[in-house]
Each structure stands twice: as structure tokens, then as C-alpha cells.
């Protein structure tokens, strides 16, 4: 009788006391049922009915003795099962899957795991003489039994039969583990240590080329007395993966291998506080994503150091390459040194529909345009194929910027000629030289359009040529607008019609107007002068007046660099665009990527802003109600980016170990959340989200609701812990007096506050109007183009008439426990 048979007969003996119908020994090889039955101690008068299916001894069956009957037919066992007289005396051994096995489901099943547990248990049970560390070891091993094959456990227990601790330490290789001299030491948790041992072998099998190099370097540098030991371990590991034999592990020691693995890790360097951009104070291997990347870049640009120069240039090169071929950097970018410290950088998706759209409307010839689409929301319009596209080409007479059959720039050059003819050149600024400068610098900026649109801070911060072009371009634009404002009176004398048309056309440049089936929308393109002016001002300050900034100023600048306010508060789609007599004022409604968007009746949050609070509120909620880690229920109404929230929830669930999150998205404005979610890379980068959705750990529902009342009804039926309501009001355009004394700063939008003491309602007008400079001239041109009047200027106002009664009653009515209104 071999060890396995002994073990099985012990398990059978034990289980017979409790089994009701019989026992089914399933999938156990290396045993002879005949031998086991013969050896089994039977209770007085007991006669066993047994079947052995799939065993080698099948040819010699049936076999009967005074104590048992053994057959090779499973059908016999099925018959016995129905006979109450035989209850508790049926033993069936099935080696492989067999027909009719299902009919034996009333029998208690014994598998090899039961034998493993029994084997381990008997090593320490009722043996008080065992030292505590050894007993703890066996208890830990029992807990991890499912991770070890029975044969290995038998070999291991045989080898450590004399109970000496050193035997355990030396024979762990029989379990597929590294020998571990410290497994039985005081203070060591054996369960944890065994798991570490197993993970170490897996980790060493996964070391990358970079890690392999570090390992080689360490081996080369270690002390002569250690060298042989480490090199032998290294060679042993290579053999282990080459031959896949557990015997190889006999010569390998846990601590040595762990040191080898540590040698593959990147050496940790001391951080330099403020110079690093202050993102991670502790060294981490977590990949750098989105906002952290923006902050690190801003930190590196505001606090330039020689160590950051090369890493930033390399990162810039890789990102730029990513726009050419996203696959090249799909696995992330590793930048050694500088603020990145070798952590992997996972930039946002490169291949965005927005990038393609911008490339169509922002080229050497095309300076913005009009696009017609059959989708209703701005996000969809960007992604969908346009029905019609009409680019603005200031050098062509065949588009909307042309002035009476003259290309816009040609028209301005004609004015120049007229100035000369009328001999007023001394009192006016010629357009032609400014236009030449504009085209020249635009050319440079166009070459890096993707970088400029997505990573303007990095591009302007690291590329001297590009930064020079930025300064040149904005100065040229400022010059052009100033020239127009200065020359306007003279131009008016020459041709009032063309002067006004030219003003209007200049204001169209680098703006994209989008006609949807229901309304007009707009967007500034990356080469719009007002958009770029902010960067120009800030980089001028950083590079030319850096001494004016204190450390604190610079740190603040780092924080706001990626979310600078939009200076242009409205766009006007007049008849030049719409083609009819409509005159539509579009308030600034948010931003897409870095570009400002303009539309009415929309949620103003198109970008990530506002969403960031979700994670923080969830964390606070968990601190408030830790019992909800089993199931957390939330809803989000009109979330600006459903995919982003979903990703955030998945990360949150993983980090906080939340059992299940029930998430309900409500949409009240006909948004197409399906399209947003369809863009999530479920099969790639966001596979964890997919896994959680598939396993039901995140339960997601989307519902288009007519209004807040409908949402309230839904929530009444199934309340949530937290309700996130994103900006339930909307922007509209009001009119306010022109304010000429404001100072416009690219970091701060100036607001005009008004409070009505009678109605107790306040209004806040963002205002960027001023008297001089590029912004002042831009507004002056608006007036000269008859788009605004001298004393009334369109101002976006937050719609005070929105009915939010249903929202404010949600907590009181018990539909949500916490109500988060994100404005």
C-alpha cells in the first residue's frame, strides 16, 4: 500500500462516519481501489458495495470478498444509490469523467484536495510537542493547500518526517518553492512568507530587459566573496526556466533570489522637493497618467533644471512619435531621469477624432471653417463624419472670408496699395508685412500642431523654435488687429463695405463653426490668437521676467498651468456664417481637450473639470459609511464624461476593495453616452473596467430622462447613497455694459459682480473686455464688424430661471443620502 492509498483510506474512514448515501472518490490517480478496500477497517457486519471506474484493475473485476463487492460498472453504483439499505456503504472510485456520473450526485465527493488537507493536518494535529513555528508552518500550508499538487505534498511530508525545522527549510523545493532558511524564524508569518516565495519565482520569470541589465550590472559589481553565490543563483534560475524542473530550486535560496530581484529594481533617488513639481513624495511604480503628467510637465517647465532637460526632450519626442503612430507608444513611455524617475507614462489616446478634425481645419490654407453635421451634440459632431465642410481660406476668394470676390488677405493688401496711392502711409500701419510674419510663424506652429493642441506647455517649454514662433505669431496677430483698428477710419473712407467685411472675416479666422440639425456651436482652433495669447504671456513672464515671480507664485502657476481660463467668453454666428438673418451668440461652454467650446443649452462641463470631485466625494463617503464597501450605490445626472466616471469607479473599486458598485447614469439633454462608452478601450487599456462589468462588480445602467422629476421618481423606487448632479442649469447670454477699465490676465478671468438686494439674487459676469492690447483690439474689432455695440457687450450668465426644486428635495425625500451638485 503506497502513501497515497494509505492517505485515501484514512480519508474514507473518516468520511464514512458522516456520509449518508456513500462516497465518490473522484479524479484520484495512483491508487488501487482494491488495495484500499482490503485495507479499510469495516464496522462490524458492514459490507461495502464498491465500483472502480477507469482504473487499471478493471479487467480483474468484479471481485467479491466477505467484506466488499467491487465492480467496474458505474451502472451498479447508480442502482445501489437507490437502495436505502445500502446507505452509507457505497464507495465509488472514478478516475476520469464518466457517463452517468451525474446520477451519483447524492454521494459525498472526496478529491485529492481533501487528501492534501488531511495529510497536512495530520502533521500538526494533536501534536503538542511540536515547536510553535513548525506548527504555524503546517497551519499556513493547510491554508494554501490548493496551490500544491498532492504528489508534491506527499514528497515534502515524507522528506520532513523527522520534524526537524531544517528539513522543512531545505525541502521546500519539493513544493515548487525556494529553500528558505528563515521560514521558521520568530516574527515571520509563514503563510505570508510562503506566498511571497511563490510570487518571487513568478516575478523573477517576468523581469524585463531593463531589469535584466540592472541584474547583470549588480552581479558585476558585487563583492568577490558574494559574487560566486549570486552568479550561481542567477544561473540556477536560468536553468529553472530552461528545464522547468523543481529540483533546480534545491540549490536556490529565498533571500538570495530576493536580493537578485531587488537588484533589478530601479535605485531610489531622493526627491528634490519643489523642483520635482511635488507630485509624488514617495517613490512609486504607478504609471503617470493625464493630470499628473500635465502637472509634472508644468513643474519641469516652471522650474527648469539641467536634469530635466534630456528627459523632457525625450518625452516630447516620444509623444510626438505617438501622434504619428500611436502603436509605437501604446505600451506607455518610460523616461529615465528627471521628474519622471523611470516611471511609465501612459498618455491619453493619441488617435482622437478631435485631432483629425483640427488637422482638416487648421492647415496652411485652412484657417478654421464651417462644418455641417447630422449629430446633435458637440462631442458626437467631432467624431462623426461631416455632411459638409467649408474651410476659411484667407488667401482664396472662394470661401466665406472673401470680401466681395477678393481673398481676405488680398483685400488687406489692396488697402495697403490704396494707402500708398492716397499718401497716408505715414499715418497707417501697412498690413502686408504683418501678414507675411503671420504666415511665417504659423508655418512653424503648424508643424507641431498635435503637440501644441495636447501638450502646449511641454512644446513651448522645451522647443525654443516653437516658443519663438509663438511669440512671433501672437505679436503678428496683435499687430494685425492693432493695424486694423488704427487704419479703420482710413479704410472706411476708401471702402466702408470692404472695411467692415474684412473686420468680420478676420474674426472668423481659426474658429470652427458647427451646424447641427438643431443649433449652431463653435470651437476655437489651436492657432487662434486669443487662445495662444495666454501661453505667450505666461512664457514671456517665465523666460523674460522670471525674477518677478516668487517660489510660491511659481508653484501656483504649476497648479493652474493646465487649466488656464478661457479669455474669449462668447462667439457670434451672424449671417456671414448662418447664411440667413439670424445672429446667434454662443457662450463659452467649456473645453474639449484644451480647446474652448461655445454653445447654448448645454452642460458646460465638456472636459474633465468637475469630474475630479467624484473620487474625493466617494472617499469621503466611505469614511462616513464604511459598511457600504459591500455595495455602493451612486447615480450621476448629466455627467460630462461617462467613460471617465466609469474608469474612475473601476479604479476606486479596486483600490478600496469595494464589493460592488451600482451606478446609474441619467441623461436629461439627449446626450449620447453610448458613444462615449463605446470609445473606451475595453479590450485593451481599460480591460479592468470590462472585467468588472462582466463580473457584475460594477453594475451600470443608462437612462434618458425627460426632466429631473422623472429622475426623482426613479430614485424614489431605488435610492442611492450619493447622487452627483452635474450643473443642472445652463448658460445663456445676457448683456452688460462694456467695461473698459479691466485688466485681463491669462491666469485670472476678471468678473463683474452684481447683486440685487430686492430679489436677493446675484449675477456674476466674466469679462475680458479692455481698452488696449490684443484682447482690447479683438473686442474693438467686434464692434467695428457690427457684431457688438459700443456700450453693450454679450456676457454669458448662469441661467437663474432653472427649476431645480426636484434636485434640492432629493435628500429630504430620501432618494439620495448625499447630494453632490457639481457646478
Amino acid at each position: 500500500m503506497n502513501k497515497k492509498e494509505e492517505l485515501l483510506s484514512e480519508v474514507i474512514q473518516e468520511r464514512l462516519n458522516t456520509c449518508k448515501v456513500g462516497l465518490l472518490m473522484r479524479g484520484i490517480d495512483g491508487v488501487s481501489p482494491l488495495v484500499i478496500l482490503t485495507a479499510l477497517k469495516k464496522p462490524d457486519g458492514a459490507f461495502f458495495h464498491s465500483a472502480a471506474v477507469g482504473y487499471e484493475s478493471g479487467n480483474t473485476l468484479p471481485h467479491s470478498t466477505k467484506d466488499f463487492h467491487l465492480t467496474a460498472q458505474i451502472e451498479d453504483a447508480v442502482k445501489w444509490r437507490s437502495d436505502p439499505a445500502l446507505a452509507g456503504r457505497i464507495l465509488v472510485f472514478v478516475k476520469q469523467d464518466a457517463d452517468k456520473l451525474h446520477s451519483l450526485k447524492e454521494l459525498d465527493v472526496v478529491t485529492s484536495r481533501a487528501m492534501s488537507k488531511h495529510l497536512i493536518h495530520e502533521q500538526c494535529a494533536d501534536r503538542k510537542e511540536l515547536p510553535a513555528p513548525i506548527r504555524d508552518f503546517w497551519i499556513a500550508l493547510e491554508k494554501l493547500a490548493e496551490g500544491f499538487a498532492l504528489d508534491n505534498l506527499i514528497a515534502f511530508t515524507d522528506a520532513v518526517r523527522n520534524d526537524a525545522g531544517t528539513e522543512i527549510q531545505k525541502n521546500l523545493w519539493r513544493l515548487g518553492l525556494l529553500c528558505d532558511a528563515r521560514i521558521l524564524n520568530a516574527g515571520i508569518q509563514p503563510e505570508e512568507r510562503l506566498a511571497q516565495n511563490r510570487d518571487l519565482i513568478i516575478a523573477i520569470g517576468q523581469i524585463s530587459a531593463e531589469q535584466s541589465k540592472r541584474l547583470a550590472a549588480t552581479l558585476g559589481k558585487c563583492k568577490p566573496e558574494d559574487k560566486a553565490c549570486y552568479q550561481a543563483a542567477h544561473r540556477g534560475l536560468q536553468d529553472f526556466f530552461k528545464y522547468g524542473k523543481s529540483e533546480t530550486l534545491k540549490a536556490l535560496d529565498f533571500d538570495t533570489v530576493r536580493e537578485l530581484l531587488l537588484a533589478t529594481k530601479r535605485p531610489e533617488k531622493k526627491l528634490k522637493g519643489a523642483e520635482t513639481g511635488k507630485i509624488g513624495e514617495k517613490p512609486t511604480e504607478k504609471p503617470i497618467k493625464e493630470r499628473e503628467l500635465d502637472l509634472l510637465i508644468a513643474g519641469g517647465v516652471v522650474f527648469p533644471t539641467p536634469e530635466n532637460k534630456k528627459p523632457f526632450e525625450y518625452l516630447r519626442g516620444q509623444l510626438s512619435k505617438g501622434f504619428e503612430n500611436p502603436d509605437d507608444v501604446a505600451g506607455g513611455i518610460t523616461v529615465d531621469g528627471g521628474v519622471f524617475k523611470g516611471r511609465k507614462i501612459m498618455p491619453d489616446a493619441f488617435d482622437s477624432p478631435l485631432s483629425k478634425l483640427v488637422h482638416r481645419f487648421c492647415t496652411r490654407e485652412n484657417w478654421g471653417g464651417v462644418m455641417e453635421t447630422d449629430t446633435t451634440t458637440l462631442r458626437d459632431a467631432v467624431a462623426a463624419t461631416a455632411i459638409k465642410e467649408e474651410p476659411f481660406s484667407p488667401e482664396s476668394k472662394d470661401n466665406k472670408t472673401a470680401c466681395d470676390n477678393l481673398a481676405l488677405f488680398e483685400c488687406l493688401r489692396e488697402f495697403d496699395k490704396q494707402f500708398v496711392q492716397r499718401k497716408v502711409s505715414d499715418t497707417v500701419d501697412a498690413f502686408a508685412p504683418v501678414l507675411d510674419l503671420l504666415r511665417k510663424h504659423r508655418e512653424t506652429l503648424l508643424a507641431n500642431l498635435d503637440m501644441l493642441m495636447r501638450y502646449p506647455v511641454l512644446e513651448f517649454g522645451t522647443q525654443d523654435k516653437c516658443r519663438a514662433a509663438l511669440f512671433g505669431y501672437t505679436e503678428a496677430w496683435a499687430g494685425l488687429l492693432r493695424a486694423y483698428c488704427k487704419n479703420e477710419a482710413e479704410m472706411h473712407k476708401i471702402s466702408p463695405q470692404l472695411a467692415s467685411a474684412a473686420a468680420r472675416s478676420l474674426l472668423l479666422l481659426d474658429v470652427l463653426y458647427i451646424k447641427t440639425p438643431t443649433e449652431w456651436k463653435g470651437m476655437l482652433l489651436p492657432l487662434h490668437p486669443i487662445w495662444l495669447w495666454r501661453f505667450s504671456e505666461i512664457f514671456t513672464a517665465i523666460h523674460r521676467h522670471s525674477d518677478d515671480y516668487t517660489e510660491d507664485d511659481k508653484k501656483k502657476l504649476v497648479e493652474v498651468f493646465d487649466s488656464l481660463p478661457q479669455i474669449l467668453n462668447f462667439l457670434i454666428a451672424d449671417r456671414a456664417i448662418t447664411g440667413d438673418n439670424t445672429h446667434i451668440e454662443l457662450p463659452c461652454s467649456g473645453r474639449m481637450s484644451m480647446l474652448p467650446t461655445f454653445e447654448n443649452k448645454t452642460n458646460r462641463y465638456l472636459g474633465a473639470d468637475g469630474i475630479e470631485c467624484v473620487e474625493e466625494i466617494l472617499s469621503r463617503w466611505l469614511a462616513f459609511a464604511p459598511y457600504t464597501t459591500r455595495e455602493l450605490r451612486i447615480c450621476a445626472v448629466d455627467a460630462p464624461d461617462h467613460a471617465k466616471i466609469l474608469k474612475m469607479l473601476a479604479e476606486f473599486a479596486e483600490e478600496k476593495n469595494i464589493g460592488r458598485i451600482v451606478c446609474r447614469f441619467f441623461l436629461t439633454r439627449g446626450q449620447n453616452a453610448g458613444m462615449e462608452l463605446a470609445e473606451v478601450d475595453f479590450t485593451g487599456k481599460e480591460h479592468k473596467v470590462a472585467d468588472m462589468l462582466r463580473s457584475g462588480r460594477i453594475s451600470l445602467s443608462l437612462k434618458a430622462a425627460k426632466d429631473l422629476a422623472e429622475i426623482k421618481r426613479d430614485l424614489r423606487a431605488s435610492p442611492v447613497h450619493i447622487g452627483f448632479f452635474f450643473d443642472q442649469s445652463s448658460y445663456s447670454i445676457g448683456h452688460g455694459p462694456t467695461e473698459k477699465q479691466l485688466y485681463v490676465n491669462p491666469l485670472v478671468v476678471t468678473y463683474d459682480y452684481q447683486f440685487d438686494p430686492m430679489t436677493k439674487r446675484g449675477e456674476i459676469f466674466p469679462s475680458s473686455d479692455m481698452d488696449s492690447g490684443i484682447v482690447g483690439d479683438y473686442h474693438k474689432m467686434l464692434r467695428l464688424a457690427d457684431l457688438t455695440t459700443n456700450n453693450r457687450i454679450p456676457r454669458p450668465v448662469y441661467n437663474p430661471a432653472a427649476d431645480v426644486r426636484d434636485l434640492s428635495g432629493a435628500v429630504a425625500d430620501g432618494e439620495v443620502v448625499w447630494l453632490a451638485v457639481v457646478l
Binding site: 479524479g27 451525474h102 541589465k213 550590472a217 529553472f240 526556466f241 522547468g244 479590450t683
Partner: protein, 508 residues
């Protein structure tokens, strides 16, 4: 001694033993498809009409010369391919849809001069000459399948020639076909130089003496691919959709290419091919998942070992001796930029370590040590390496999990598509098989193990050595596998509890 150039050594190994250059991190199944189709057809076409009609604009906003909307409309009208009533806007919308259709996998590129790359289409009129370095693996896979399962290759070639799928139909007016003979006009026979395809017989494995051990391993591989391919062919013939058939064929080709890479160490270095444990547990912390991760480690380490061996052979072929190498300068990656190295210090350390290790060793052992060093140095210096290539392709086809390149600790966890293809290679359409029969076929045809039987447990522990899962965990893995098949309607549990696996008699 002259400074060794790593890129040249790698090229020698690839061309002598591997059959293609697995040196890019951007390979996609569509690249392999194009190469395989080219090999199956033995010809290419210009596809100028398709490129002109379908390629509207690049991601960078460039339109190739002759592809502007007006030019395309005029060209179509001249060829009477567009009726007079069709407006510019209608054509634009149609062209945009076509571009999305044939550039789905983003493997089609264009600049102001030309359009190149691989179409997401599967018929002869789309099979152009090699336009991307990623395609050579496909050419190899095609040649390999022609050798291993000629009937399947013939069938695919015939199907490609028919061009009766919806994508080809959409392009019908510009396919450049002869109206009389219904054949393509701008056909170019495939040339057989290294720049394009590599004939298998040039490879070391196919040149070896049939009685040698190595060749027996190759024969076993060819036999297993043949059995899988023939089984797949029966499915293709019964499937009504030719695009789906081509998709199945493509996935199969990719899988075979990965198998070939994994088998190189066994074919050339006398190692045993390793088992592949498929993980259906769905939990990365489970014993099954950990064991599957170990299987993946062994799989890719076998590739690295093969390359180390290959580099040693390359040194031998150059007549270099161990002692000479011990005095040689640190190799550079490319001859053209000898001074520029990504990590000169790292290379130096590796080479120095190899020199130290080689001291007092036998000649063969010395070369092997330098081969290993060259392999590690190549991985460090090159943009990409064969293991990265394997990871990218395996992830793309749904063989490895997690599906991001960021996770290096992959395991074998199949996507639904890959599971279907593996099953279609093991069970013919009208057949139902028992779990044991399926286990045997998975092992024989792919060296795949799932668990649930004594044999599978032995297969896994016999060759893989370490298994961090007991028989019960393996049996549960098989139960999870059966559940997944059940959900995909590829298996059913009969009232008596017996699992029957099959495709439900789809040929009828």
C-alpha cells in the same frame, strides 16, 4: 578583431533560422493577414483604384495627390463608375465610410504622395506588394501553412480570388478587373527574395536531416498544425460568410506563427516544447492564473534562449573563437551609428560580464555565453525584440491577458474569438466530442492544457515542473471553461450531466 554589429547578427539569425523579423512593436493581425494572403495567392496587385477611392485623408490632414474629392469624382465619371446624379457631398460621405471600412485596424497610411499599408479586407484585389516591414511574418506564416496544410492554403487562395464579399463589392467599379475573363489586370507574381518572402527551404529547420531529433520536432509541429488546419478548413467550407472565414484563417495563422516562435527552442536547441495552461479562473491571484503566468514565462524565455543559441551560431558562422571574443571591443547596435548608444554603460557591463564568465570555459560554452550577452544587449538597444513582438501579437489576437502592453506578467487567457478558433481547430462542424477527447486534441494540436483529467495534470507537471494549483483547482478550471463554452453555445450539458462539445451541426 572588428567590432560586432548586433543588428547584423540579429538579421542573420532571423534569416537563417526564424523566417521573418520579429522586431517591431507595432505588428497587428492585419499585417500578418496581408502577408499570408500574398503567400497563398502567389501574386500581388497595385490596387491603385481602391487606394484612390478609399483614401480620403490621413490623420495628419494630408490627402494624396489625385485623391482630392473633385479629382476622384472626375476620375469616376470618366470611367463611368459614377452616375451624373451623384453629388460631391454624396461621394465624400461614401468615401469616408469606405476609408473607415478598409482602415479599421489603422494599418493604412497615406501622405501627400502615396497610400500604403494593409487593408482590412480579404480578397485578391486588396493584396498589394509588401509595403510595411511588419508583413514579413505574414509571408512566413503563409508559406508555413502552405507547407503544413496545403489544402487549407489552396482553399483560402480560391476564396480570395472570388472577391465576392461585401467589401469587394463596394469597390467593384475600381477593382481593375477584366470584364471578359473576370480576372485582375495589374497582377504581379510574387518574387521570392529575402526582401519579400523567405522560402521555407532556406531555413535551418527545413534543411536539417530528417533523421535528426530537431527535424522530428519540426515534423511533429507540422503534423499538429496540419490536423488543426484541416479541421478548420471544414469549418471554413461550411461558413456562409467569406469575411468571417478569412478572419478565422487569419487568427489561425497568427496563432501558428506564435507557436512557431515558441517552438524554435525545441526545434533547434533540443528542448521540449512547453505546455500552455489556459486560465479560465478569471482571477489573477488564483493558482491557475499563477501557473499560467509561469507557462508564459517559460514560453517567452524559450524564445530568448533560442536567440542566445542563434547568436552563438552566428558567431561560429563568422569563424570567431571564444578567446578572440574575450579581447573584442563592446559590440554596437548598428554600423551606421557606432558612437550612439542608448545605454553604452549597460552594454559595456553586459559584455564585460560575459568576458568574465567565459574565462576558462570550453569553446562551445564560451560562444553560448557571448550569445546570451548579445541577446540581452540586443534587447536593450533595439527598439523592439522578439518577446515584445510575441506579446503584442498575442495580445492583439486575444491569446494573452491582460490585454495591455503595460502588463508584462501575461497569462494564457483566451478572448472569445480565440477560444472559438481553437475549438474550430479541434472539433469538426457536425461532431460532438467528450471533454476527454477535446483535452487530447488540444494537447496534440496546440500543447494546450486546461485540467480536469489525470492526463492533463500529468502533462502540466511532467514538462512544466512547477504547478501552483492542485488537481481540484485544475478540475474547476475545466468547469469554468465548460461554462464559458456553454455561454457561447458551443457546449451543452446533457440531462445526465455529461458535457457535449460541438458546433451544433452547423453544416446543415
Amino acid at each position: 578583431m572588428e567590432q560586432l554589429v548586433l543588428a547584423e547578427l540579429r538579421q542573420w539569425v532571423d534569416e537563417t533560422y526564424v523566417g521573418f523579423h520579429p522586431n517591431t512593436g507595432s505588428v497587428k493581425p492585419v499585417h500578418l493577414a496581408k502577408g499570408m494572403f500574398r503567400a497563398a495567392l502567389g501574386q500581388t496587385v497595385g490596387a491603385d483604384g481602391i487606394k484612390r477611392l478609399a483614401y480620403v485623408i490621413s490623420a495628419k490632414g494630408q490627402t494624396p495627390k489625385g485623391n482630392t474629392p473633385e479629382e476622384v469624382l472626375n476620375w469616376l465619371r470618366q470611367g463611368q463608375a459614377a452616375e451624373d446624379g451623384i453629388t460631391q457631398e454624396q461621394l465624400n460621405a461614401f468615401r469616408n465610410a469606405l476609408q473607415k471600412m478598409v482602415a479599421t485596424d489603422k494599418a493604412l497610411f497615406g501622405d501627400s504622395k502615396n497610400v500604403y499599408g494593409a487593408f482590412t479586407a480579404a480578397s485578391a484585389p486588396f493584396v498589394t506588394k509588401k509595403e510595411s516591414p511588419h508583413e514579413d511574418a505574414g509571408q512566413f506564416a503563409g508559406d508555413f501553412l502552405k507547407r503544413a496544410c496545403p489544402e487549407l492554403a489552396k482553399y483560402v487562395s480560391k476564396l480570395l480570388g472570388k472577391a465576392s464579399d461585401p467589401i469587394s463589392t463596394a469597390f467593384l467599379p475600381v477593382l481593375n478587373r477584366s470584364a471578359e475573363t473576370d480576372t485582375l489586370l495589374d497582377v504581379v507574381p510574387e518574387s521570392l527574395d529575402w526582401e519579400n518572402p523567405l522560402p521555407l527551404d532556406r531555413l535551418g529547420a527545413f534543411k536539417l536531416d530528417k533523421r535528426t531529433r530537431a527535424n522530428k520536432k519540426l515534423d511533429a509541429l507540422l503534423e499538429s498544425v496540419n490536423a488543426a488546419g484541416e479541421c478548420l478548413e471544414t469549418h471554413l467550407k461550411t461558413h456562409p460568410n467569406s469575411l468571417t472565414q478569412m478572419r478565422l484563417f487569419n487568427l489561425f495563422g497568427c496563432l501558428c506563427t506564435i507557436r512557431w516562435l515558441g517552438a524554435l527552442a525545441s526545434i533547434y536547441c533540443e528542448e521540449e516544447p512547453r505546455p500552455i495552461l489556459l486560465d479560465f479562473s478569471g482571477k489573477p491571484s488564483s493558482g491557475i492564473a499563477r501557473t499560467s503566468v509561469l507557462c508564459y514565462s517559460q514560453f517567452h524565455k524559450a524564445i530568448s534562449r533560442f536567440y542566445a543559441w542563434g547568436y552563438a551560431e552566428a558567431l561560429k558562422a563568422r569563424g570567431l573563437k571564444g578567446d578572440e571574443l574575450r579581447k573584442s571591443p563592446v559590440p554596437c547596435f548598428k554600423a551606421t551609428n557606432k558612437k550612439k548608444s542608448k545605454d553604452a554603460e549597460g552594454l559595456n557591463e553586459l559584455w564585460q560580464l560575459a568576458k568574465d564568465n567565459a574565462k576558462d570555459k570550453a569553446e562551445d560554452e564560451m560562444l553560448q555565453i557571448f550569445g546570451e550577452a548579445i541577446n540581452e544587449m540586443t534587447i536593450l538597444e533595439a527598439e523592439n525584440h522578439p518577446v515584445g513582438w510575441l506579446r503584442k501579437l498575442g495580445t492583439e489576437i486575444g491569446l494573452f491577458y491582460p490585454p495591455t502592453n503595460f502588463n508584462t506578467n501575461k497569462r494564457f487567457a483566451l478572448s472569445d474569438d480565440m477560444l472559438e478558433i481553437v475549438l474550430r481547430c479541434c472539433v469538426v462542424p457536425d461532431e460532438t466530442v467528450t471533454p476527454d477527447a477535446l483535452r487530447d486534441r488540444l494537447w496534440e494540436r496546440f500543447r494546450i492544457v486546461i485540467g480536469g483529467s489525470v492526463q492533463d495534470t500529468q502533462r502540466l507537471s511532467g514538462l512544466g515542473g512547477i504547478v501552483y494549483a492542485d488537481a481540484d483547482a485544475l478540475a474547476q478550471n475545466f468547469a469554468d471553461f465548460a461554462h464559458e463554452l456553454d455561454e457561447m453555445e458551443l457546449a451543452e450539458t446533457l440531462p445526465d450531466g455529461i458535457l457535449r462539445i460541438g458546433f451544433g451541426g452547423i453544416s446543415q
